[in-house]
Each structure stands twice: as structure tokens, then as C-alpha cells.
């Protein structure tokens, strides 16, 4: 049974930490897109997508992420993700998401690196 998404956004200066629970599939598109659109590109230069433990991604959900990440790149925003299982770390690498986003295990380290991104604080 697919788990529906809930999104919690926390802004830390120029970095937004977006906590996402639930599976990431085609059904996540509207939730993820609208959450992303809520972030002011003038202010937010780094985005951390913090997935809850055990999050499942299907191919459709990965494409949704790719489309959002590509959009973020156009807006000069840096993306990081955390909370991935070992399996999905490999899949993210395999489908090339790692070309758009860095993968972290440690949320604090991710935020620190995003803050150091040019345009960040």
C-alpha cells in the first residue's frame, strides 16, 4: 500500500530543509512540485530533501525528482538529499540523480555544505 506524502519545510537562512514522508511515486508530483514552488528562489539557494527512513522511490517518482532538480539547477539552487537507504543511494547514482544532487547521511553536514554554496550564507 502506497504511503501518501506529507511535507514539512524549515528555512535556515538561505537553506530550506524539506522533510518528506511517504513513498515517492508519480502521485507525489503535485505535492513535491508545489512544495518546491513555495521556496523563494531569490532567497533559498540550497535545498535539502530529507526523506524519512525506508522511503520507497519508483521510476516515476525519480523522474519527478529529476525534473525538479533540473529546474533548481536553472535557478542556481543547490540540492542535497538525505535519508536514503543503501539500495536507493545506488539507484540515484545509476539514474544520474547524483549529477544534480549530493547525497548525505548526516543532515547537519548537508546543511553546512549547502550554506557554503556560493549564494548561500
Amino acid at each position: 500500500m502506497e504511503k501518501a506524502n506529507t511535507v514539512k519545510i524549515e528555512e535556515k537562512g538561505s537553506v530550506a530543509v524539506v522533510g518528506i514522508s511517504g513513498d515517492v511515486t508519480g502521485r507525489s508530483e503535485i505535492t513535491l512540485r508545489s512544495s518546491y514552488e513555495r521556496l523563494d528562489p531569490e532567497k533559498i539557494k540550497g535545498i535539502l530533501l530529507k526523506f524519512e527512513k525506508g522511503t520507497y522511490f519508483n521510476s516515476e517518482g525519480l523522474k519527478v525528482l529529476i525534473l525538479i532538480f533540473a529546474e533548481a539547477r536553472k535557478r542556481d539552487q543547490k540540492i542535497a538529499v538525505s535519508g536514503l537507504s543503501a539500495h536507493f543511494k545506488k539507484i540515484f547514482g545509476m539514474v544520474g540523480i547524483t549529477k544534480f544532487a549530493e547525497i548525505y547521511d548526516d543532515e547537519g553536514q548537508a546543511v553546512k555544505n549547502l550554506e557554503s554554496f556560493p549564494g548561500g550564507e
Partner: protein, 496 residues
């Protein structure tokens, strides 16, 4: 020592990749078939496929072979300017390679325009005889080449798309056909309703004229006209009965004519009464005209009343018996006292008389009919069981559709009511079905075609005495027959 670890790592990675691909295939096969709208199917397919291979650009194109029309086009990763170039190239490829199902690689695609330079792999497929499709994907984000397994997977995913699109096209065709039939059905209803209504007045006038003619001719000694007039009147009656059946079936709630005529009559009834007295010496003309209007145009949707079904059936049976006294059929009533049912007496009368007449007309001479009223805990049933010819399985499916006689028209007898095989237009059962929906009762039918005449065109001789298979009534009864059951729910207040 390092090499085996690397090998284990790459094997593990390959396994995880294949697991992911299998999951995509599973999601594709379940996800696509949830949708029936073609653009939604194509979009889901493209999201899954580009997500699976990690691709930015891709598109799916569907086009009609004959008309050259674009059925659908969904793309990701192209600018608006590029889209039109991609579309042009896609049309070119699909129609140039008409009939082929194949995989194209970058080297094969250069000739289809500059936008195709960003396409690395393409799969061309036939949706059906009229529609062709093309799936194109750009380079992988990782820069890796598409492997043979990738190509196989893309073709398999494309096959899923093909079936989903086919289903969607069939569903769309079915929907269109249903809407067309519904529209034609509404038009047909309108025409029948109009014709039925238009027939009512002229038929009444013809009958009145024939009756008047009969009265005038009665003064002459020569009576040779009587037979012709009777035949004419009988056929006018048949037409009127048919008109009434159609009217019951098609009638809306429009009682405009009735109201208008009554209003006119109210306005001028005094003048009519004076005129009648002066001209005819009869003062009740206005009342008679009013009664005629009531009969012809009056509303016949009666409010449901509490009806003692056993008494009502007994009464109708008593009235009907003289009408089939010329027939040698044996009607056995078993009318138990039951709780009253809520029903329009007019409609109930039509149901009771219709089913009894139907049974008599389908039972050969010497045959038996049971007419039963019985009650169960929460229901009351009126049952008519005939030992007649029965109805073939094929005809049973359509018996309540209306205007569906169960025998060929030319196999009918004289058309006299209650004669064996008297026939009719088959509208009576449709009318009962409509009453059942209007008055909330169940109409059930079980039938077994006489085993001696199993085919639709096999004919019953119409008399057990003439039947070469049945020696007596019991033999005929066992050979086939039909049971109609009308079941009424009893309200809790009426339950014993």
C-alpha cells in the same frame, strides 16, 4: 583479494539495477491500466521510462495512419521551438517506416531533423491497423550507452504501452458508441411518443365513426355489412390497445392536453348544455364529453393504494374467463389471503390481465394454467404458471425488451385475443417491466421450451389432442412451460 570484492560489488549493483527495472516493469503493467485517457497513459509511461533509465529528454507520439492526424504527443526536456521540430520528425519517421516495428539507434535518426540529434534510441510500434506509435529517449544523464538489456526492457515497456493505448482506444470507441446509441434512443423515444400521441385522437374518431355508421346501417334490412364492420372495429380496438401499451411505456408526465380540454369544457359547459337540450333534447352532453376527455386524455398515473391481491386477481379472472370461454384451457386458481400490497390498481389490473392472457395464448387446447397468489414472510407473490410451449433460451434474454414477439409474425393465428398463438407486438411484457420499476415490484420469468419443439421455428399444433408426442395434459405439462412471478415487498406495517 581486491578483484573478487570488486566483482561482488558489480554483481550486487547489477542485481539492484535489475531489481529496479523489474519493479518499473511491474509498476508499468499495473499503473498504465488504471487509466483510460490516452494523454494520461502516455505521460505516465514517459515519466516511468525516463525515470527508469535516468533520461532528461524523451517523447511519445501516436499518429493515425490514414488521416495523418496526430493522436497524441507528450514530451519532456524540449523547448517549445524544439517540440515542433521533434513533432515534424516523428511524423516523418512514423509514416516513412509505416508497418515496421523496430528499434532505431542514434545513427538511424539523423535524417529526421536537428531535434532528433538529441534522441539516442527510438522504438516504433503499431497500436492497431489505424494507429502507429513512436517512443524516443535522449541520452542517459550518466552518459552511459543503452545496453542490450536496456533495449529489451524498452521494447517490453513499449508493449505495455501498446496494450494500454489499445484498451483506451477501445474504451473511447465504446463510449462514443454508447453516446451515439443513447442519443438515437432519445430521438426514437421522442418519435414514438409523438406518433403514439398523434394516433390517439384519430383512432378514437375512427372508432366513434364506425360505431355511428353501424347504428345508421342497422336501419337497413341488408345485414351483409355487419361482418366487415365488426372486423374493422376489432382491428381499431387492437390498434387502440397497442397505442395504449406504447403510451404506458413512453408516456411522460405531460398532461397538458387533458388540462387544456378540461379548462375549455369548464368555460363553456353551460353553453354546451343549452345547445344540446335545444338541438338534441339531451342535457347530459357536457358530462358525456367530460367523461370522454377523461377516458382519452386523463392522467392514468394513479397513486398507489393498498390492494388485496387475492381479491383483485379473483375479480380480474372472473372478468376474463368469458373472453377465453371458446378455449379448452383449464385455469386453476389458488388465491391465498395475503397482506395488502401498495400498488396502482390500474397498473396492477394490466399486469394481472396481461399475464393471464399471455398464459392462455401460449397454452394449447387441453393445457393447464395455475394462477396463484401466495405470501411469504416479507413478500407477496402473484404467479402465473402455464404448461405452454415455453420460450427458447435465446428469446428469454430479450423477452422484456418490448416489441419482441417470440414467434415469427407469419406464424401467428388470427390475432383474436386469447386464441392460441394469438400473438401481439410483445409490448405488454415491456410495459409490465416498466411498471415494475415505477411501482417497485420484481418481475421474474422462468421458462422451459417444450422439448418436442426446441427450435424457434418449430411449431406446436395448438392442441394436445393433435400433438404426436403428448397423449394427455400431464405429458404436455411435463414437456415445458413458463412461469411469470410478480413479487411485491410488504411494508413493515403490513407484515403479519
Amino acid at each position: 583479494m581486491g578483484e573478487p570484492t570488486t566483482n561482488r560489488g558489480s554483481v550486487q549493483e547489477e542485481l539492484e539495477k535489475r531489481l529496479f527495472h523489474l519493479k518499473t516493469l511491474y509498476d508499468m503493467s499495473s499503473g498504465l491500466f488504471e487509466k483510460l485517457e490516452i494523454n494520461a497513459i502516455l505521460r505516465k509511461f514517459l515519466l516511468m521510462t525516463t525515470g527508469n533509465f535516468g533520461v532528461m529528454e524523451g517523447f511519445v507520439f501516436l499518429g493515425e495512419v490514414c488521416s495523418g492526424e496526430i493522436t497524441a504527443f507528450i514530451c519532456f526536456g524540449f523547448s517549445e521551438d524544439e517540440k515542433s521540430l521533434v513533432l515534424k520528425g516523428a511524423k516523418d519517421l512514423v509514416y516513412r517506416c509505416s508497418g515496421q516495428e523496430r528499434v532505431f539507434e542514434r545513427g538511424d535518426l539523423g535524417e529526421y531533423g536537428t531535434a532528433f540529434h538529441r534522441i539516442t534510441i527510438a522504438v516504433l510500434f503499431n497500436v492497431d491497423d489505424r494507429c502507429r506509435g513512436l517512443v524516443c529517449l535522449g541520452e542517459k544523464i550518466t552518459g552511459e550507452r543503452y545496453s542490450i538489456e536496456d533495449k529489451d526492457l524498452l521494447v517490453t515497456l513499449g508493449n505495455n504501452l501498446l496494450i494500454a493505448v489499445r484498451n483506451a482506444r477501445y474504451a473511447a470507441q465504446l463510449k462514443d458508441a454508447y453516446e451515439e446509441v443513447s442519443s438515437l434512443n432519445r430521438a426514437k423515444d421522442k418519435v414514438i411518443h409523438h406518433l403514439s400521441h398523434e394516433l390517439k385522437t384519430p383512432l378514437s374518431l375512427i372508432k366513434a365513426s364506425l360505431t355511428l355508421l353501424g347504428r345508421k346501417l342497422a336501419a337497413y334490412p341488408d345485414k351483409s355489412w355487419e361482418k366487415s364492420l365488426r372486423r374493422a372495429l376489432k382491428n381499431v380496438d387492437r390498434l387502440m390497445a397497442m397505442q395504449e401499451e406504447v403510451d404506458d411505456i413512453m408516456r411522460g408526465k405531460d398532461v397538458q392536453v387533458y388540462r387544456t380540454l378540461n379548462l375549455l369544457l369548464d368555460e363553456c359547459s353551460d353553453q354546451l348544455a343549452v345547445l344540446a337540450e335545444n338541438e338534441l333534447g339531451k342535457g347530459d352532453v357536457a358530462d358525456r364529453i367530460r367523461a370522454r376527455i377523461e377516458d382519452l386524455f386523463g392522467p392514468r398515473d394513479q397513486l398507489p393504494e393498498r390492494i388485496a391481491l387475492n381479491a383483485l386477481v379473483a375479480q380480474h379472472l372472473k372478468e376474463l374467463r368469458p373472453l377465453f370461454a371458446h378455449r379448452e384451457v383449464y385455469v386453476h386458481p389458488r388465491l391465498e389471503p395475503v397482506s395488502p400490497v401498495l400498488m396502482s390498481p390500474d397498473a396492477m389490473g394490466k399486469v394481472v390481465r396481461g399475464l393471464i392472457r399471455n398464459a392462455v395464448e401460449n397454452t394449447p387446447e387441453g393445457g393447464m394454467i395455475d394462477v396463484v397468489v401466495e405470501g411469504a414472510q416479507e413478500e407477496v407473490a402473484f404467479v402465473v404458471r402455464d404448461c405452454g410451449v415455453g420460450i427458447t433460451k435465446e428469446h428469454q434474454k430479450r423477452i422484456f425488451e418490448g416489441f419482441f414477439p417470440t414467434q415469427e409474425t407469419d406464424a401467428y393465428c388470427s390475432g383474436h385475443p386469447f386464441d392460441f398463438n394469438a400473438g401481439g407486438k410483445g409490448a405488454d411484457l415491456l410495459r409490465m417491466k416498466i411498471f415494475s420499476e415505477r411501482y417497485n415490484f420484481r418481475l421474474q420469468m422462468e421458462s422451459e421450451r417444450c422439448r418436442h419443439i426446441p427450435g424457434e421455428n418449430d411449431v406446436c399444433p395448438g392442441s394436445i389432442a393433435l400433438c404426436e408426442h403428448c397423449g394427455k395434459g400431464d405429458d404436455c405439462a411435463r414437456s415445458g412451460g413458463t412461469v411469470f412471478k410478480v413479487v411485491f415487498p410488504i411494508s413493515e406495517a403490513e407484515m403479519p
